[in-house]
Structure formats: structure tokens, C-alpha cells
């Protein structure tokens, strides 16, 4: 608690978007996440780093309740977005996911056209009244995802025909087409080559202006490059959370130091 207060004082005027208090996650009898306390800021890129199996993806998937689809998974503790408990029984997870978009590790466009991929979200949420509005949202989303120039002439070609990097940017366009408030990214660059990675990273930096972005990554360089805040997870514990510069240059926990210097992980 002390640590949190110290961080708060150092932060600028940005507000907390998501707050987690004593979050526990169990897979059956396996206690996967223990006592996670974290404040995710609005209009900020927050990176979750840590060795494989440390629980960072699990925590990410708590934020839009994607863990609900795993029958054995149980979440305890308090998770709020804008002060509202997202695990409240009154919350419809489907509605929540429209506000908290997600981009997955492997690019997973629908086997439909590029246009239909992006238009799907706005369509099912009824965000548009006519075709012209839908066209506008599709174009805006693809532009924001820095993909427009590459696909504007073939919007009706299948999305699965794009290259890996383009597919991932298409998935980002699809996720932001519903105008979410938070964008979760689960290792979005792990299947991409360095050039595509650079494009996606640049994009993440631009998206920060509108969304709160949470990114899980295995690459510490990537965390250092794109994020303003970093959380280090280890064996189901949130070991350290703070400003990215501070975590990488002057970690307060010896485990964080061991990990970023490559001694554990």
C-alpha cells in the first residue's frame, strides 16, 4: 500500500482507468495469481512483463473477463473500471468487452473480407445507422491502425490473405472499431518480424492518445520502448509496478533486477 501511495504522488494528472485490489485467480485448485494490486492509468501504455507462466496473460484476460470462457477459472478480489466493479453480477461480460477491446498473440482475422473484419464489431453493437457511417468507421479504424494505404484498394479481399504484420494491424483495427476505452494486447508482436513489430509499436504509441493500452510482452526492450508504466510478474505475484524508466534503471526488488538483467526467467 505504501508503494502505491508513493507512485500516486509521482504521477501527473492522469486518472486511474482500472483498479485492481487483492485479485486472486484460481485454475481449479491452482492458485495462479496472488494478491494483485495495480492501478492502470488512462491514456497510458502499461506493460506487463515476466517469465512464462507468471500470470501476466491471466491477469490481462481478467480485465475483459475472457477468463469467463474457461470453466475451471475463478476470480476473487476487486477489479474496477471507472469505479465500477467489472465482476459485479449486473455486468454483462459481452457489454464489457465492447468497452475493453483485445488483440491476441497470434493474428486471428476472421476468414472474411478486410472490410467485414473491421465492420463486424460496429455491426453487432449497432453503432451505425447506415452503410455510409459504417464505411466511415471502417476507414477511420483502418487508418488508425496504419493499414489504410496498404489495403484501401482491396477492402473486399480476404483478411487472411494479408501478411502476418498486416493481419495483426487488421486485428487492431477490428478492436478499435468499436471505440473501446481500454485496449488489451496479449503479446501482439510475438508472431511478427522486426519490421512489422516496429510498425505495431509505433501504432501502440499513437493509440495512447485515445485509449488506455495494456500490453503483455516477453520482450523487455519492447516494454521499455512502448510503455510508460511497467508491471513485473513472477510466479503469480505482482513483484513490482512503477514507471517504466524506474523499473528498468533502478528496480527496487531484487527479483525484478535479476529478471531484467537476464538472471531469472
Amino acid at each position: 500500500m505504501m508503494k502505491d501511495l508513493r507512485l500516486e504522488s509521482r504521477l501527473d494528472t492522469l486518472t486511474n482507468k482500472i483498479e485492481a485490489r487483492k485479485v486472486q485467480v484460481y485454475y481449479g485448485t491452482n492458485h495462479a495469481l496472488k494478491d494483485v494490486d495495480v492501478n492502470i492509468l488512462d491514456k497510458t501504455v502499461t506493460a506487463f512483463i515476466g517469465p512464462s507462466g507468471c500470470g501476466k496473460s491471466t491477469f490481462l484476460r481478467c480485465l475483459n473477463r475472457m477468463n469467463d470462457t474457461i470453466p475451471a477459472c475463478r476470480v476473487e478480489g476487486l477489479l474496477t473500471m471507472d469505479g465500477e466493479d467489472i465482476y459485479d453480477p449486473r455486468v454483462d461480460p459481452v457489454q464489457l468487452r465492447a468497452k475493453v477491446g483485445m488483440v491476441f498473440q497470434k493474428p486471428n482475422p476472421f476468414p472474411k473480407s478486410i472490410y467485414d473484419n473491421v465492420a463486424y464489431g460496429p455491426k453487432i453493437h449497432g453503432l451505425t445507422r447506415n452503410k455510409a457511417e459504417l464505411d466511415e468507421i471502417v476507414e477511420k479504424s483502418i487508418r488508425k491502425a496504419a493499414l489504410w494505404n496498404e489495403v484501401k484498394d482491396r477492402l473486399h479481399a480476404p483478411g487472411t490473405g494479408l501478411s502476418g504484420g498486416q493481419q495483426q494491424r487488421l486485428c487492431i483495427a477490428r478492436a478499435i472499431a468499436t471505440s473501446p476505452e481500454v485496449l488489451l494486447m496479449d503479446e501482439p508482436c510475438s508472431a511478427l518480424d522486426p519490421i512489422a513489430t516496429a510498425q505495431v509499436e509505433e501504432l501502440i504509441d499513437e493509440l495512447r492518445a485515445q485509449f488506455s493500452v495494456v500490453i503483455v510482452t516477453h520482450s523487455m526492450q519492447q516494454a521499455a520502448r512502448v510503455s510508460q508504466r511497467t508491471a513485473f510478474f513472477h510466479l503469480g505475484n505482482l513483484v513490482e509496478y512503477g514507471e517504466t524508466g524506474q523499473i528498468f534503471t533502478n528496480p527496487s526488488d531484487p527479483r525484478t533486477e535479476s529478471y531484467i538483467t537476464g538472471r531469472i526467467g
Binding site: N64, M66, T69, P71, V94, Q95, L96, R97, A98, G101, M102, V103, F104, K106, N108, P109, F110, P111, Y120, G121, I124, H125, T160, C171, R174, A175, T178
Partner: protein, 436 residues
């Protein structure tokens, strides 16, 4: 130092083993192909003649004195004349035509001449006249079926030697048949009746057709498709996408797998008990056959459908859920369309199995001798009908050798249906196959 050009003992032995294994494979495939070829040759050899039939075409004088003794042309009075009367008319007309053409009958009696015409033709003529009494007194050109023995003579089934021992025919009749063919009265043509006419009694193989059986089978396939496809797909989607994974769903899963292996006759007993004895549905009706086959087909549709749903990558579900689609939207918009080729293939193969199923139909009375065509659906579904595999089974039981060719011909028809259905399945699979 060993050279690369000489093989050591172990390599030689290994290569020899591989060569032997390949040889076993080739032998196995050859045996399988030979069996298939043998099967096809025997079926087509025996069955193809069923598609050709011997007909007698001659002018028939519809004698009012015989067919309408009162001369009032009233249907009620005319109906009193049985097929025997019409048989006499046919025989005398044929005798007159033979005399007119100057063909030597070798001293055959009128009864012998009448024997050359199928008994079925008298009934056909009677129906024709009763349907149109204005024909009375006219001379019409009529095409009659030749007797099964005459037909068999031209197909090689009946020979002069066998005719000598046969009470139903004689060498003289066969000789006359040859003469009639030369005179153009007797001809051998494609037999549409085999596909359109109903079954005929034991003594008339020449008139037996698959009409009722084909319609019965089509009705049943319709019932199976309408019931088994939606129920099977809904059950699969629920089990695969919505059901909690617990002991109950495990139990259901094991039971579905077991039900697919239950002998089909068991479904027949079940159908007899439930649909006929309990629900009171009519015997021999396509609706009951369809219901029984639906029960039998359901697990055979559910298993491939679930496999097809499982084969849809989870990343697609994640993508849809992550965007905020509901579970149902995820399934209907993304999972089902991607699984559709697998579902359709499974369904069509399930239907094809149902089409060829005999045993359960025997138990619900579809083995009955049915000559009346069932009516149009939906009420026709409750009329008695036959089914293709049961008709084959039936014909193999008949004593007249003419039914051997009918049964084999029916097998060809059934095979054509099955091959057509499997072709559709393959085309659908090819067409909608997606790579992701």
C-alpha cells in the same frame, strides 16, 4: 573403412523389410480392388437386364360384346368385367394380328397365345378402358408386357432346354416369340416401368418396379433430413459450445458414441414399441420409417458435427468474443459457417447410411407388399410404402428366377443414389473447404 557404395548388413535387412511391407500393401489393395470389381461385375451383369424389357405391340380391338355386355357404357357395369375378360380380348387381338401377318404359330391354342402376354397387361388395359369408356368398340394400338419367360428368353435366362422342363412355357412359344420379333410385333426396349411401376406379385416379375420403393425411400430421407439435421446440429452445438463440462455431459458423450454403434435392428424394435405400439402411428408408413432412421442417424450426425465444430480454431472464438460478440453470435456468425462443410458431409453420409438401412424397416412393417402409391406429402407420409433396400430383400426371397435380375437392378438403383449422395458430399466439402 567402409564405402558408401556397399551396404552393411543392417541396412540391407532394413531395406528388405521395407520392400516386403510395400509388397503386402500392394497385395492388399489388389485384393480389395478385385473384390470390388467382382462385386460390380456380378451386380451389373445380373442387374442391367432389368432395365430392358420385352414388349408386344399390336392393335387391340376393344370388343363391346365382351367388355360391356349391357352396352350402356356405365362404369358400374363395366367394372364387373374382370381382368380375365380383358385377357381374352388381348389374346384374341394378338391371335388376329398373328394371323393377319401370316405367321405360323405351329398349332398353338388361344390359351398358349394368351400365356405369352403378361397377366399384368390385362389389368393395365382394364384400367385404361375404365378410365376412358369412350375407347369401347375402338381398335387401339396397345403395348403389352411379354410374359416373364419370353422376356427371359431374350435375356438368355430361359433356353429351349429349360423351357422343355418348364410348366410355364414351352419351346414352341419361344420359337413363336422369335418370329414375332422378326415381324416387329415383339420388341425389346428401355424399361421405364422398372423405375415407375409398383411391385408385382410372385408370378409377374416382368411387371415388378421400384416406383413405390423409390417414393417411400425419398419420403423417409425427407423426414430424416428435416428432423435429424436440425436436432443433430443443435445438440452438437449445445454440447460443444454451451454445455458445462461435467459428469453428466461426459455420460451423454459416451452414450452418443455408443448409440452410433448400436445395431440398427435395435432401433427397429424401439420404433415398433414407441411409434407404432405406443404412439399409434400406422405400420409400413414412411413417417415411422423416417422417425426410426432419424433415431439411428442422429448419433451419426452428431459425432462428425462435433468434430467439425472442434476443428474450428479457438482463435476465431476468441476474436469474436474479444470484440464483444455474444456466445450465440460467435457460434452463428463464425463457428457454424466454418464448420458447415464438415456438418454437411457428415449429414449426407448419415443420410446415405439411412438410405441403405434394411433391418429396422423390417420390424416396422415396411416389408409389406405395397402396390398403391403413397399420396403426396404430408398425408402421404402416413400411407403404406416400401423402401429400396427392403424391396431388394423382398425380391431376393421370390421364387421366380425373373426376380434375380430385378433384385440386382434394384441394387444398381440404390448404388446410384448412394454414389450421387456421396458425390454431393465431396463437392460440398471441396467447395466450402477453407484454410486458416
Amino acid at each position: 573403412m567402409s564405402s558408401l557404395f556397399t551396404q552393411d548388413k543392417k541396412t540391407t535387412a532394413r531395406n528388405a523389410a521395407e520392400k516386403r511391407f510395400r509388397a503386402y500393401g500392394v497385395v492388399a489393395i489388389t485384393l480389395a480392388l478385385l473384390a470390388l470389381v467382382w462385386l460390380l461385375i456380378s451386380i451389373f451383369g445380373a442387374g442391367l437386364p432389368a432395365f430392358r424389357q420385352t414388349f408386344l405391340t399390336f392393335p387391340v380391338t376393344l370388343d363391346v360384346a365382351v367388355l360391356d355386355k349391357q352396352g350402356h357404357a356405365l362404369p358400374a357395369e363395366m367394372a364387373k368385367v374382370t381382368t380375365i375378360g380383358y385377357g381374352k380380348v388381348l389374346a384374341s387381338s394378338l391371335a388376329a394380328e398373328i394371323a393377319a401377318q401370316g405367321i405360323d404359330t405351329g398349332g398353338m391354342t388361344a390359351k398358349d397365345l394368351a400365356d405369352m402376354i403378361s397377366e399384368e397387361s390385362a389389368a393395365t388395359l382394364r384400367n385404361k378402358v375404365l378410365g376412358n369408356p369412350a375407347l369401347l368398340g375402338q381398335t387401339i394400338s396397345f403395348t403389352a408386357l411379354a410374359n416373364g419367360r419370353i422376356d427371359g428368353f431374350f435375356k438368355g435366362r430361359v433356353t429351349m432346354e429349360s423351357a422343355k422342363l418348364d410348366k410355364n412355357t414351352s419351346p414352341e412359344k419361344l420359337v413363336l416369340a422369335g418370329k414375332l420379333r422378326d415381324a416387329g410385333i415383339l420388341s425389346i426396349r428401355f424399361n421405364t416401368g422398372f423405375l415407375t411401376m409398383p411391385d408385382a406379385s410372385d408370378k409377374r416379375p416382368e411387371a415388378a418396379g421400384l416406383g413405390v420403393a423409390i417414393i417411400g425411400s425419398l419420403y423417409m430421407m425427407f423426414v430424416v433430413l428435416v428432423l435429424a439435421l436440425p436436432i443433430g446440429v443443435a445438440a452438437s452445438v449445445y454440447l460443444e459450445e454451451f454445455a458445462p463440462k461435467n459428469r453428466w455431459t461426459d455420460l451423454i458423450e459416451v452414450n452418443i458414441a455408443n448409440l452410433a454403434a448400436v445395431p440398427s435392428i435395435v432401433y427397429g424394435i424401439l420404433g415398433l414399441a414407441i411409434f407404432i405400439n405406443f404412439a399409434g402411428l400406422p405400420q409400413s408408413a414412411p413417417i415411422v420409417g423416417g422417425l426410426v432412421l432419424t433415431l439411428m442417424t442422429l448419433p451419426r450426425i452428431i459425432i462428425p458435427t462435433r468434430a467439425a465444430l472442434k476443428a474450428v480454431p479457438p482463435s476465431i472464438r476468441d476474436a469474436a468474443l474479444g470484440i464483444g460478440a455474444s456466445k450465440l453470435q460467435t457460434v452463428t456468425h463464425h463457428v457454424l459457417p466454418l464448420a458447415m462443410p464438415g456438418i454437411l458431409t457428415g449429414t449426407i453420409i448419415g443420410l446415405a447410411q439411412a438410405l441403405g438401412e434394411t433391418a429396422p424397416l423390417l420390424l416396422i412393417g415396411m416389408v409389406a407388399f405395397v402396390r398403391d402409391f403413397p399420396g403426396a406429402p404430408p398425408s402421404g407420409l402416413f400411407d403404406p410404402a416400401s423402401a429400396l433396400p427392403v424391396q431388394i430383400y423382398n425380391w431376393t426371397q421370390r421364387s421366380d428366377p425373373g426376380f434375380v435380375e430385378r433384385a440386382s437392378g434394384a441394387i444398381i438403383v440404390l448404388l446410384v443414389f448412394l454414389i450421387a449422395m456421396n458425390t454431393v458430399a465431396i463437392i460440398l466439402r471441396r467447395k466450402y473447404e477453407r484454410r486458416w
